[in-house]
C-alpha cells in the first residue's frame, strides 16, 4: 500500500513539474521533461500494478492460478502483500459510489469498456464476478484504449483511436496507449500542485459532471496512461511539434467549455 501511495505522490509531483516547466523562463527543457515523464511512467506502472495485485489476490481467493501476469521486475520491486490488496479493495468501495455519481459519458464509457473488452478480457470478468466495482475501476483505470475510444466523439481530429494495442494486457501494464490520443490529452490534462494531491484535470471521459477536485484514482490512472508513456504532449509549445498544437487546439476549445475554472486555468496556457 505504501508503494501505491508513494507512486501516487510521485505521479502528482511529476505532473506538477511538467506543468511548471511550461511557465518557466527559457522555454520547455526537453531533457528535464523527458526525465520527469520517465519517472511518471515508472510510478504509473507501480501504481497500476497495485490494482492488479489487489484484483489478483481477490481472484486467488476463489481459484488457483494467477492469471495476472505482473511482470517479474514489477513483482520483484513491489511485491504485493495480502494486506495491501485488502486495502486496495476497500478503497474501491467509496470510489464506486463516486463513480455512480459520474456523468452519463463516464458510465457510457464504462459500458463501452465492458463491451469492448468482452472477448479479450473474458477471463478477467470471470475472475472478478464478485466484485463488479473493482472490475469496472480496474478496467477503466488500466485499459486505456477503451476509454480513449470515447474520445473521438469529442475530438474529431483524433480519429485513429483504438489501435492494435487496444488489446488489454492482463499484466496490468497498459503501456501502449494510442499515440494520437496522447497528443491531445496530454495537453489538456495537467494536474495542480501537490498540496492538492487529489486534484486532477478531468480527462475527457469525466469532464461533463466531475469536479476536478474530486479525486478519482482511475482518472488519474487514465491521465497518467495517456500522458506518461509518451512525450509528445509536452512539446506542444515547442516548435518541434507544431502538428500537436493544431489537434490540441481544437480539442482544447471543446474541453474548455466543459472544464471547471480550476481545470481551465491549467489548460489555458
Amino acid at each position: 500500500m505504501e508503494y501505491k501511495v508513494e507512486a501516487h505522490r510521485i505521479m502528482s509531483i511529476s505532473l506538477g513539474k511538467i506543468y511548471n516547466s511550461r511557465v518557466q523562463r527559457g522555454g520547455i527543457k526537453l531533457h528535464k521533461n523527458l526525465l520527469v515523464s520517465l519517472v511518471l511512467r515508472s510510478a504509473r506502472q507501480v501504481y497500476l500494478s497495485e490494482y492488479y495485485s489487489g484484483a489478483c489476490l481477490n481472484a486467488q481467493n476463489e481459484r488457483e492460478g494467477n492469471e495476472w501476469d505482473i511482470t517479474d521486475s514489477e513483482r520483484e520491486k513491489f511485491p504485493p502483500s495480502a494486506t495491501e490488496c485488502d486495502r486496495v479493495e476497500s478503497t474501491e468501495e467509496p470510489q464506486q459510489s463516486e463513480q455512480s455519481e459520474k456523468g452519463r459519458d463516464y458510465r457510457e464509457n464504462d459500458d463501452e469498456v465492458k463491451s469492448d473488452q468482452a472477448d479479450s478480457t473474458s477471463t478477467l470478468q470471470q475472475e472478478q464476478n464478485q466484485n463488479s466495482s473493482l472490475d469496472s475501476v480496474a478496467k477503466v483505470s488500466s485499459e486505456t484504449p477503451p476509454e480513449t475510444s470515447n474520445e473521438p466523439k469529442e475530438s474529431p481530429s483524433d480519429s485513429a483511436v483504438a489501435e492494435s494495442d487496444s488489446t488489454p494486457e492482463a499484466n496490468g501494464e497498459s503501456h501502449q496507449p494510442p499515440k494520437t490520443q496522447r497528443k491531445r490529452s496530454a495537453e489538456e490534462s495537467e494536474s495542480g500542485d501537490s498540496p492538492q494531491k487529489r486534484t486532477k484535470v478531468a480527462s475527457s471521459n469525466a469532464e461533463e459532471s466531475e469536479e476536478a477536485e474530486e479525486m478519482d484514482t482511475s482518472n488519474v490512472s487514465n491521465l497518467i496512461t495517456i500522458f506518461g508513456s509518451s512525450f509528445s504532449g509536452l512539446l506542444s509549445k515547442d516548435g518541434a511539434k507544431p502538428e500537436a498544437e493544431d489537434s490540441g487546439q481544437i480539442c482544447c476549445d471543446q474541453m474548455l467549455k466543459n472544464l471547471n475554472p480550476w481545470s481551465t486555468a491549467i489548460v489555458a496556457f
Partner: protein, 448 residues
C-alpha cells in the same frame, strides 16, 4: 595530486581568493554558470546567468610574494548575451551563459566562444595600451582639419595610455539550434568547433557563421518515440576527427567524422550494465550523464552522473575503468531530491593537468577530489569561513548514519541550495577555481 589530511609529502589545498558579493541575498543574474581556464592558465573566464562574462588574469609572479602564486584580478567584463524573444514560438531565450571555451592563443589577442541556449559568439579580447597622438589631418578631438590650414607635415606618435581591455564580438553563430545548447567544444584543428543541443550536434568553422554542418541528429521521426537526449559533447583533444557525446540514458558514443557525413552511427558505444539491485523510480534520472571530459592525454574520458564519476578507457566499451562515488549517501534521499528538483542538477567534472586527479562538485558547497593513483579522495568546502589568506582547507566529512562525530555534518543538515556545479583546474598547476552560486573561489596548493 591531492590534499591529504596531513603528513608526509602530501600537499594541502589553501584558500587563495574569493570573488563576488558577500550578500546573503543572491541576485539570480549573478549566479555563475560556467568557469574555464584558458590554455595557459593565465586567464580564467566565468559566465553567469545574467549573460555576462568576467575574465580574470593572473598577475605576474613578483619576487616579493614568495608564499603564493600570482593572484587573479579582473581583466575584462562584458555582456555577452542578452535575453531574446523568439516571436515565432513565443519563447523567451535566456541570456544565461551555458558554456565558455577558449581558443588557443595565436596572437596578442585572446579569443573565446560563449554560448547561451541558442547562440554562440566568438569574442576577441584585446589590449590597448597605446594611442596615436598628433594626427596631421585631425584635431585633438577628432574633427577633420580644414585642408587649407595644414601647413606642416607631422606623423602621429604612439603614446602610452592606461591599459584598456576591449571585448568585441567577432562572430555570431546563430539560428542553428532548435533545442537548448548544452555544450561547445573547440576542435584540435583550431579551425572548427562543435555545438550540441538536446537532439543535434553541429560542426562549425570559426570563420563561417551562416552555415554549419549537422553531424549528429537523434531526433526521432515521431517525437513520441523520444527516449533519450544528448547531454554533453566534446572533441577529442588530439584527433580532430573524433568526438564523443553522452546521453540521458547514461551512454556515451564516440564518433569518427571520417566515417560518414552524418555520424548517427557511432564508432564506439560505452555503457555500463545497470545494477538491477539498485533500481528505483529514479534510476533513469540518476544515470543521466551531466558532463563528459576527455583526459588531456586523450586516452581516457570521464563522465559525471548524479551520484558518481566514472573514468572510461577509450579502448574498453563495456564498463568504466574507475568509478568514484561522489555522494552515495544521497541515494536514499532521491525522492526528496526529486521533489526539490535537485536531482536534475548538472554537475561538471574536470581533470588536473597531468590526469592524475579529478574533481567534481557536490552540495553544501562541498567539492570532491579523487586521486587516481592513490585512490584517495577528499571533500573540501568553499565557504567564507575558511577564507583567510593561505588558510589550509580542512577535509570535510558527511556522516551517513549512526553517531555523528565531531566536525562531521549529517546528511540532513546539508544545504542543497549551496551547490557546486562548476569547477575548473588550471592546466599546468595546482590551482583550482570553484564556483559557489555567485562566488568564485580560487584555491591553490600550499607552497612549502
Amino acid at each position: 595530486m591531492m590534499a591529504g589530511a596531513g603528513g608526509g609529502n602530501d600537499f594541502q589545498w589553501c584558500f587563495s581568493q574569493v570573488k563576488g558579493a558577500v550578500d546573503e541575498d543572491v541576485a539570480e543574474a549573478d549566479i555563475i554558470s560556467t568557469v574555464e581556464f584558458n590554455y595557459s592558465g593565465e586567464l580564467l573566464a566565468t559566465g553567469d546567468k545574467g549573460g555576462r562574462v568576467v575574465i580574470f588574469q593572473r598577475e605576474q609572479e613578483s619576487k616579493n610574494r614568495l608564499l603564493s602564486r600570482g593572484e587573479y584580478n579582473v581583466y575584462s567584463t562584458f555582456q555577452s548575451h542578452e535575453p531574446e524573444f523568439d516571436y515565432l514560438k513565443s519563447l523567451e531565450i535566456e541570456e544565461k551563459i551555458n558554456k565558455i571555451r577558449w581558443l588557443p592563443q595565436q596572437n596578442a589577442a585572446h579569443f573565446l566562444l560563449s554560448a547561451n541556449d541558442k547562440t554562440i559568439k566568438l569574442w576577441k579580447i584585446s589590449e590597448r595600451d597605446k594611442r596615436a597622438d598628433g594626427y596631421n589631418l585631425k584635431d585633438e578631438d577628432g574633427r577633420l582639419r580644414d585642408p587649407f590650414r595644414i601647413t606642416t607635415l607631422r606623423v602621429p606618435v604612439l603614446m602610452p595610455m592606461d591599459l584598456m581591455v576591449e571585448a568585441s564580438p567577432r562572430r555570431i553563430f546563430a539560428n542553428a539550434h532548435t533545442y537548448h545548447i548544452n555544450s561547445i567544444s573547440v576542435n584540435s584543428d583550431y579551425e572548427t568547433y562543435l555545438s550540441a543541443d538536446d537532439l543535434r550536434i553541429n560542426l562549425w568553422h570559426l570563420e563561417i557563421t551562416d552555415r554549419s554542418f549537422n553531424i549528429v541528429d537523434i531526433k526521432p521521426a515521431n517525437m513520441e518515440e523520444l527516449t533519450e537526449v544528448i547531454t554533453a559533447a566534446e572533441c577529442h583533444p588530439h584527433q580532430c576527427n573524433v568526438f564523443v557525446y553522452s546521453s540521458s540514458k547514461g551512454t556515451i558514443r564516440l564518433c569518427d567524422m571520417r566515417a560518414a557525413a552524418l555520424c548517427d552511427r557511432h564508432s564506439k558505444f560505452f555503457e555500463e550494465p545497470e545494477d538491477p539491485s539498485s533500481r528505483s523510480f529514479f534510476s533513469e534520472i540518476i544515470s543521466s550523464i551531466s558532463d563528459v571530459k576527455f583526459s588531456h592525454s586523450g586516452r581516457y574520458m570521464m563522465t559525471r552522473d548524479y551520484l558518481s564519476v566514472k573514468v572510461w578507457d577509450l579502448n574498453m566499451e563495456n564498463r568504466p575503468v574507475e568509478t568514484y562515488q561522489v555522494h552515495e549517501y544521497l541515494r536514499s534521499k532521491l525522492c526528496s531530491l526529486y521533489e526539490n528538483d535537485c536531482i536534475f542538477d548538472k554537475f561538471e567534472c574536470c581533470w588536473n593537468g597531468s590526469d592524475s586527479a579529478i574533481m567534481t562538485g557536490s552540495y553544501n558547497n562541498f567539492f570532491r577530489m579523487f586521486d587516481r593513483n592513490t585512490r584517495r579522495d577528499i571533500t573540501l568546502e568553499a565557504s567564507r569561513e575558511n577564507s583567510k589568506p593561505r588558510a589550509i582547507l580542512k577535509p570535510r566529512k558527511v556522516c551517513t548514519g549512526g553517531k555523528r562525530k565531531k566536525d562531521e555534518i549529517s546528511v540532513d543538515s546539508l544545504d542543497f541550495n549551496k551547490k557546486i556545479l562548476h569547477t575548473a583546474w588550471h592546466p599546468k598547476e595546482n590551482v583550482i577555481a570553484v564556483a559557489a552560486t555567485n562566488n568564485l573561489y580560487i584555491f591553490q596548493d600550499k607552497m612549502n
